[in-house]
Symmetry: C2
Subunit: 200 residues, 2 copies
């Protein structure tokens, strides 16, 4: 039987389109803006607002958040410490794949544990930028946009970050925004300026 | 305490950049070319060859394969039936996210089970195209590019598709290529023509 076809290669699946070629095509660096903060701090709202602004500037940008990962990829995970860790591990790998594909990724997850964010920084490398969306618990609980704090206080939700599960704030994030003190547009302006400087 | 900042929105994290806007920007439709076939059939080699050709035509294309997912995102999974199913479930969700971000994704996984590929088609929707890389077991085993068949026959690898774990061939793939009968360049030509017609 003749064995036809495939050329010999040392590493059969070495990608032929490298990160450099992609970045040259897209005109900006790839990487990850890793938003971390309490529920209600404004991570997702700022993420999609920033995505819109950067998209309008021609950047290849995409938000990964609970809406597109928690229900699908991570739909098998709950909110125990172990499941949170696995959630963030998977988010890290998906974000790294998007960055490898030349994208600027904005991740918007509470990501409460320092060790998990540190691991994300290691996997993603120099394109990783930690963004602390740093509203206080009081502010977030007063907003309570999804009614989750009320349910956590009533004992209906277990392991709720800030109430019954810890939030370990970043010690030296690349940028921090206090959305309790600063209004939305101003926060967005600062994020946009930061992103353009870091990736533009 | 004043609660400042975030605008009220019904769905806090609704993406402001839709799939239509992305596709308008990138000039082609997004979706998934889902390669399936035995180890050694040529999935990864054809995938990166096709990626190169489509990238050179200006398309936003990215390969998801064992190299970038099996070791990272799916590094916790083995090759039992349940783990294979979970592997393909996660690949499906990541591919769907890339497609949502306007990309043409080429997935290159054995994906031996019909039910899992059917589930992928349901999640990804009309952008899903099943591509059977259909070399026979004899051809694949004679190639054995990574020496895996030899190890499987020697009993060193359990649950090896085609040897000790089933491969359920597609019943009606969008396109099928017999890489045992057709040479590499000719297979690539056909794939490129198919992809340009389906997504261009």
């Amino acid at each position: 039987m003749a064995v036809s076809g495939l050329p010999n290669q040392h590493r059969l699946t070495a990608h032929q389109v490298g990160a450099d070629a992609r970045q040259g095509r897209y005109g900006h660096r790839s990487g990850v803006l890793w938003f971390t903060g309490l529920s209600g701090a404004g991570k997702s709202t700022l993420a999609v607002g920033l995505e819109r602004r950067l998209f309008d500037k021609g950047m290849r940008v995409f938000v990964l958040d609970g809406d597109n990962l928690r229900h699908g990829l991570n739909g098998d995970l709950g909110f125990s410490d172990a499941d949170r860790q696995e959630n963030i591990r998977r988010v890290t790998e998906v974000a790294a794949a998007f960055a490898e594909a030349g994208r600027l990724v904005i991740t918007a997850f509470i990501s409460p544990f320092r060790a998990d964010r540190h691991a994300a920084r290691k996997v993603i490398g120099e394109g990783f930028h930690e963004v602390h969306i740093a509203a206080s618990l009081d502010v977030c609980e007063a907003r309570d946009p999804k009614g989750l704090y009320a349910r956590a206080r009533a004992g209906e939700i277990k392991d709720f970050t800030g109430v019954s599960s810890p939030y370990e704030a970043p010690e030296s994030p690349e940028i921090a925004l206090d959305t309790g003190a600063e209004n939305f547009e101003s926060s967005l302006d600062r994020l946009e300026a930061y992103a353009l400087k870091a990736f533009g």
